[in-house]
C-alpha cells in the first residue's frame, strides 16, 4: 500500500491533537511552558513525517498543486506558531496557529486535489523548492502577524505592534527572497525577470502594502495603530489574491503561473 494522501486524515488528526494539547498547556501557563513547546514540536514532526512520506510516494517534492501548498502552509503555520511562542512567549499564539493550520488541514481532507506523478517542464528547476518553501514560510509568519493585527483591532488594550513588526520583518524578508528567487527562475524559464503577469502583479501589490506597513512610524495613538493594523490585514488579503485568488480572475487566463491546467 502506498503511503500518501490516503492516510493524511489520520496523521493530520494526530498532529492537530498534539497541537491543540500544546495550545491548551500554553494557555494555562503564564511563563513559557516546555511541555507546550514539546507538544507543538511533536505536532510539527508528525506533519514533517507525512510530507516526507508523500514526497517519497510521489517521487517528487510535494510542492505543485493547491492541496500540496496548503499542506506546507499548515506545516509552516505550526512551525511559525511554535517559533513565535518560543521566542516571544505569546501564550495564545499557539491557539491561533493551531486554528489556522487546522483550517488548511480540514480543507485538504474535505477537498483532496488530484496529483500528477510528473512535473511539467517549467517546474523542473532547482529554484522550485527554495522558491515555494520560503514563500510558504513567509505566508505563515505574515498570517500570524495578521492574527495579531485582528487582535489589536478587537482588543484596544492589547500591545501587539511590536510583535507584529517582528513577524512582518521576518515575513517580508522571506517574501522578498521568494519573489527574487522567482525572478531568477523566471529569467531562466521564460526570459524575463519580471513580466507583470497577473500573479507577479499581485505579488508586487502585496509587497508594496507590507512595505507600507513597516514604513509607518510607530505612534501611540489608537487611530494610527488601527491604520497600521488595517494595512497589515489588507496586505494579507492581497496575499491571498496573489496565492490563489488570482486563479479566478480573467487575467489568469494569460498567466504563465497556472500549473494545474
Amino acid at each position: 500500500m502506498e503511503l500518501g494522501w490516503n492516510i493524511f486524515a489520520y496523521i493530520a488528526s494526530g498532529a492537530i491533537l498534539l497541537s491543540v494539547a500544546g495550545a491548551i498547556v500554553a494557555l494555562r501557563h503564564k511563563e513559557r511552558s516546555t511541555a507546550a513547546t514539546l507538544l507543538s514540536t511533536l505536532a510539527i514532526m508528525v506533519m514533517v513525517m507525512f510530507v516526507g512520506m508523500l514526497w517519497h510516494t510521489l517521487q517528487r517534492p510535494p510542492l505543485r498543486t493547491m492541496g500540496e501548498t496548503r499542506l506546507w502552509y499548515s506545516l509552516f503555520m505550526l512551525v511559525a506558531g511554535t517559533v513565535t511562542y518560543y521566542r516571544w512567549h505569546y501564550r495564545w499564539i499557539l491557539s491561533f496557529s493551531t486554528l489556522m493550520a487546522t483550517v488548511f488541514i480540514v480543507i485538504n481532507i474535505l477537498r483532496p486535489e488530484i496529483h500528477d506523478e510528473s512535473l511539467m517542464p517549467a517546474l523542473q528547476s532547482a529554484w522550485f523548492i527554495p522558491h515555494v518553501s520560503v514563500y510558504m514560510f513567509s505566508y505563515s509568519l505574515l498570517g500570524c502577524a495578521t492574527l495579531l493585527a485582528v487582535c489589536g483591532i478587537v482588543n484596544r488594550k492589547l500591545e501587539v505592534r511590536e510583535g507584529i513588526d517582528k513577524l512582518l520583518y521576518g515575513g517580508i524578508g522571506l517574501f522578498t527572497v521568494g519573489m527574487l528567487t522567482g525572478a531568477l527562475w523566471a529569467k531562466e524559464a521564460w526570459g524575463a525577470y519580471w513580466s507583470w503577469d497577473a500573479k507577479e502583479a499581485w505579488a508586487a501589490a502585496t509587497w508594496g502594502l507590507y512595505l507600507l506597513a513597516i514604513h509607518l512610524p510607530a505612534r501611540s495613538t489608537r487611530r494610527a495603530n488601527v491604520a497600521y493594523y488595517a494595512i497589515v490585514i489588507t496586505a494579507f488579503m492581497s496575499l491571498q489574491m496573489c496565492w490563489y485568488g488570482v486563479n479566478y480572475l480573467p487575467s489568469a487566463k494569460q498567466s504563465v503561473h497556472t500549473y494545474n491546467q
Partner: protein, 267 residues
C-alpha cells in the same frame, strides 16, 4: 486649508489627470525610447535628482524626502500591482505606471542619499535593500526600450539566419541557428513532460530545454518556447543589455532581505 491637505489635493488632481489621459490613449510606445535616447533621458533624470537633492530645503525637495512621499511610492506600487493584476492585458506602458515608477525612483534616490549622509557608519542593510531596489527598478525601467525578442520556427535539420519580431517583421540575426534534433515527450494525458532541442548557434552546439537557455554574447539568451508536438521547435532569442544591472540589483536585494529576516526591526 492646511499644508498637508493642500498637498494631498494636488496629488489627487495629478492622479485624476493621469488616469484620464490613460483612458484616452493606449500607452507609450517604448521602442521609440531605445538607446541612445533612454540613456540620455536617464542622465537628464539623474541631473533632476541631483538638483532636487541640492534644493532639499525647498517645498518640493522637502516633499520628495517626506514620509508622505514614501507612503505614496509604496501605495502606488500596491495600486499599480492591483490594477495590472486585474487587467486581462496589463497596460505596463501607461502614463500612470510610468509616472509612478519615475516618482518612486526619484524618491528612492533621495532617500538613499539622505540615508548615507546621516549615517554614522555604513548602513549595510539599508544600502543593500534600497540600492538593490534602485538598480533593479532603474534597469527594468530605463532598459526596457532596449529589450528585444525575436523568434524562429525550425524543423529538424533546418537552419536560418532570419528571426521575426512579435509584429511579424523579419530581422537578420547576423549568425546562423540550426536545429539538429528535437525531443518532445508527453504523459498519458497528453501533457508535456520533457522538451529538448539540440541546436548549433553560430557554430556552437547546445541543448535547449525549459529552464536551460543558451547564453550568447552580452545580454543575449536563447530559449525553446513551444511543446514541439508538431515536430517544430520555436526558438526565441532575447537580447537584454541591461540584464547585468538587474542581476546585481537582485543580488543586493536578496542579501538585504536575508538581513531583514535575521535582524528584524531595530528600535
Amino acid at each position: 486649508m492646511s499644508k498637508s491637505k493642500h498637498r494631498w489635493l494636488i496629488i489627487s488632481i495629478v492622479a485624476m489627470v493621469l488616469v484620464t489621459i490613460d483612458a484616452m490613449i493606449d500607452g507609450v510606445d517604448i521602442a521609440l525610447f531605445a538607446f541612445p535616447l533612454n540613456v540620455l533621458l536617464a542622465l537628464l533624470w539623474i541631473i533632476v535628482v541631483a538638483r532636487l537633492w541640492h534644493k532639499r530645503n525647498t517645498t518640493i525637495g522637502e516633499f520628495m524626502l517626506s514620509a508622505d512621499a514614501t507612503k505614496i511610492s509604496l501605495g502606488l506600487m500596491a495600486v499599480v500591482g492591483i490594477v495590472l493584476g486585474t487587467q486581462a492585458e496589463p497596460k505596463t506602458t501607461s502614463i500612470s505606471v510610468i509616472t509612478a515608477i519615475i516618482f518612486t525612483l526619484t524618491h528612492l534616490s533621495l532617500i538613499i542619499l539622505r540615508g548615507w549622509r546621516n549615517a554614522k557608519g555604513i548602513r549595510w542593510r539599508f544600502t543593500f535593500l534600497h540600492c538593490g531596489l534602485w538598480l533593479l527598478l532603474g534597469a527594468g525601467f530605463w532598459g526596457a526600450p532596449d529589450r528585444s525578442v525575436v523568434r524562429m520556427a525550425l524543423g529538424e535539420g533546418e537552419r536560418s539566419t532570419i528571426a521575426y519580431t512579435t509584429d511579424g517583421a523579419a530581422q537578420e540575426l547576423g549568425y546562423e541557428v540550426e536545429l539538429c534534433n528535437l525531443l518532445s515527450e508527453q504523459d498519458g494525458a497528453g501533457r508535456l513532460t520533457k522538451i529538448e532541442a539540440d541546436v548549433v548557434v553560430d557554430g556552437k552546439r547546445a541543448t535547449l530545454s525549459v529552464n536551460h537557455p543558451m547564453s550568447k554574447g552580452v545580454g543575449t539568451k536563447i530559449y525553446i518556447v513551444n511543446d514541439g508536438k508538431d515536430g517544430y521547435a520555436v526558438i526565441e532569442i532575447i537580447n537584454e543589455p541591461w540584464l547585468y544591472i538587474s542581476f546585481i540589483g537582485i543580488m543586493m536585494l536578496l542579501v538585504g532581505a536575508i538581513m531583514m529576516f535575521a535582524i528584524g526591526p531595530k528600535k
